[in-house]
Assembly symmetry: D2
Homo-oligomer: 296 residues x 4
Amino acid sequence: MHTSLQGIIAYPITPFDEKKTVDIPLYQHLLERLITTGAHAVAPLGSTGVLPYLNDAEKEAITEATVQQVAGRVPILVGVSNLTTERTIQHAQFAERAGADAVMIIPMSYWKLTDDEIFHHYDAVASKLNIPIMAYNNPATGGVDMSPQLLKKLLEIPNVTMVKESTGDIQRMHYLRRELGEDVSFYNGSNPLALAAFAAGARGWCTAAHNLIPDLNLALYSAVCKRDYTLAERYFLAQFDLLKFIVAYGLPRTVKAGLEILGEQAGELRAPLRKLSTAETATLKKILLQTIDSAT
Amino acid sequence: MHTSLQGIIAYPITPFDEKKTVDIPLYQHLLERLITTGAHAVAPLGSTGVLPYLNDAEKEAITEATVQQVAGRVPILVGVSNLTTERTIQHAQFAERAGADAVMIIPMSYWKLTDDEIFHHYDAVASKLNIPIMAYNNPATGGVDMSPQLLKKLLEIPNVTMVKESTGDIQRMHYLRRELGEDVSFYNGSNPLALAAFAAGARGWCTAAHNLIPDLNLALYSAVCKRDYTLAERYFLAQFDLLKFIVAYGLPRTVKAGLEILGEQAGELRAPLRKLSTAETATLKKILLQTIDSAT
Amino acid sequence: MHTSLQGIIAYPITPFDEKKTVDIPLYQHLLERLITTGAHAVAPLGSTGVLPYLNDAEKEAITEATVQQVAGRVPILVGVSNLTTERTIQHAQFAERAGADAVMIIPMSYWKLTDDEIFHHYDAVASKLNIPIMAYNNPATGGVDMSPQLLKKLLEIPNVTMVKESTGDIQRMHYLRRELGEDVSFYNGSNPLALAAFAAGARGWCTAAHNLIPDLNLALYSAVCKRDYTLAERYFLAQFDLLKFIVAYGLPRTVKAGLEILGEQAGELRAPLRKLSTAETATLKKILLQTIDSAT
Amino acid sequence: MHTSLQGIIAYPITPFDEKKTVDIPLYQHLLERLITTGAHAVAPLGSTGVLPYLNDAEKEAITEATVQQVAGRVPILVGVSNLTTERTIQHAQFAERAGADAVMIIPMSYWKLTDDEIFHHYDAVASKLNIPIMAYNNPATGGVDMSPQLLKKLLEIPNVTMVKESTGDIQRMHYLRRELGEDVSFYNGSNPLALAAFAAGARGWCTAAHNLIPDLNLALYSAVCKRDYTLAERYFLAQFDLLKFIVAYGLPRTVKAGLEILGEQAGELRAPLRKLSTAETATLKKILLQTIDSAT
């Protein structure tokens, strides 16, 4: 099942309307763009989709709207992370019932969790679920850093079949590949590491960049599939500045600004998140247009 | 108003019963212990009280139970932090209506917030509130580090009258003292820094240690008030090992274990948090009993 | 013996003439200033004295010039650190023969040394020496961080009787005090930590600031000796900005610039070190003059 | 000229005899092994060759012995780093006169150098030299971290034509490639990054591993030259554990131990460096033999 997830896994933003409620029709429009521009899978309720800023009803509405809109065209990976184990189970079960193909879970921490606590957290969720789980490591947002050794151990839990690594440390990917063989499904979540991760054997690239530069994302992946690393490097360097910018300034804020630069509506952000400043938007515009030009 | 907060500000844990729901009677019993053992103020729904793991109804129940139990004997500082600005306002307003003396807010991050986003977050909450706000900096739990310069700026917001610093960097306290004068109310939240923070002018010590060693906490504060640093150092060093242990292994887990070592009921933890291991509990027991012995 | 080292231990710079050779007469003049302005001890060939940038002949000339100039008025602590054990022994033996009261050794690293390698390094030097050794921990310059546990172990070597801590982590000082009792001689080498370190029991303050603001340094120490921490804090905050500036911009460069602001000659720096920029010098001048004003 | 440096640039150790002096005949024997096993270039007096632990006469003897032994068969890159600018110039000029093809310079720091100081350091050396300079960035040993922006600026100095990056941050290599085009000569000095660095366009791999596993190093490079990344990954993963071990336990110590496991003499280390422990040696033996087996 999980092998269906590969290539460019695109992360939609969650747009809000002027009353500060989730704008489902606009969300579906932006999601449709991801599919029609060639994403191999979509991943709602990720960091880009500001999962932690949504209440339960909003998360469920996004999940259902995604399943309805995708209509089986590509796999759906739903973010269901929560601070407590009990509510993570509830969200995961909702996603499964709604029709998700897999769920993604980052061990959101407040108190730094021990390896033992993290293992039991995943194990408890997995035991209540029939679809695959992607264990997601991103200390920069989640606040806890899972070692490659812990990730390997999590993969012993039956449903935990995929790992997403966002630390930007290529050695961790080599470790996973070495320990787990070519069949392991690990994914890269660090945009500026996209080329190195594919060279290290990553099966897919989890990215919000597909909202802005789908052609370059796909061209990089296509070159990798052909093992043409000369071409892959060229496509990668062409998008490198944009990838660094969106990571440095935050995905929800930069994707919203980038969509507007491209003439799309992107709704409002939810406070405390705020729009990019005028100067930041100008910088993004320059980088984005140069990036798109370079690809043509 | 805010000057009423000083000395030992004690943080209760939030106990759960076997059905995994908040055990309000046990909470009130543990809160009463804090007051009768001499705490100068109490702070429900802090990190120790696992605020981020509670739902809205649970937070409100804790708030009301606190006001009822304290019955005006000591000031109450309620934690109302939330990832979104809107819900932080809701929690803060509830606390004010319920009878809290002040609220404590940490800018919980998922996406790293900019200084501008943090300022607007506090400003938006403050504009809806009539009681003082303590701005709380603790990158180890909240994930965002507010610079001393930003904290100084937050203090320009009318209701933001107090700062709690938990980075363990004494230079930041010197900076606040130097910039803001003797009238500034800053509090120390880093247990192993208690002596140095008082020497640097901290008005109070926000601590969960009062659940376990109230006499030593008070003795240290009393020596500081008399400016007897020889005595203060003796009391501090007597509790230093315990303070380091509870920080290293997490306040909710170690306070629960410590209470049980002292013969108190402390309820269950909420997953993913798990009990200390047997070996860790044995170490804590040894340190705790030695600490108490040394004080007598 | 070693207990004679206490209070303000002043670090002279090493001035160079226009031919880029060490200017011994100017060095002796600047050293004399430290003594006549009340330093309780002097420490040539420290980081401030650019020890690692000097050749053997220069180090020996500085050592001899110091002993001659001091003429028994205050204790002399000579820096003798070297990357290899053999040359550290040679420098230490030279210092002993020349008349130094004690030597200071930081384990300069290129390859990160193991605890075992560091212990044997100190042990080998100590076995060849009859004067006390101060073990100096400063990862920011030396590149290796000795844990408090390792420092405690080093103090088991007969001649190693003193520790200088420059990490700025007050908890390490509490640990040393707690483990080693009131008789342990530990010294603070982190300028912005001066007040907290004294409150934690430091016997002395190793500082280059005495070149610029001797009265304030001494006033702080005097208040500490009287256990008057209200006064100590006032004196400390008066010099806090200057202490932070000289640490941030490098002691040799800022002390040279500061001496010139005060009308003293200070010679040249040795490349690659370069003078402060004009703007940095202006900032230093403003801070230095304000600091001196505030003290009068 | 500098383009002659590519492929596997092998770093010899500097062996000492029982009197603790450099063993030149043994050095030449070990150097000869590097050449006969296929190294594309050799780099004496690197970190592996414990440059900072040698005196001037020893450095000069190693340099001359290298030129004599190599006899024009492969390019020679000599490490000439020193804390002061003046002595760096002296060492670089000696290397040029002796017949080195290029020199490698890391800005060894004691005081953290500013970008301006570093630029002037390289510029001063370059102005006195007629052979190319490789600017070497390795904060883990040298103590100063040169940003990619600074490295780019250094490449504007006429003689500075090569960069060696050892931070292990693949993004920095992408940056250099993007900014400087395909003609830039950058080299990888982080062993566990070997595959990713070649995929990012590195012209060569500076490694001590060639002392132990030359066939695997060369097989990886050969696969990269053919752009066969499937094969390259296989060869890389086969040596990954060894590369991680020698970095984690220090190159001079592990290469010496590894040579002895392979039946070679490797001389003594210079204190404070000490031999691997018996347990560490056993671990290395197991990894080394497995690595060699896997390659056959």
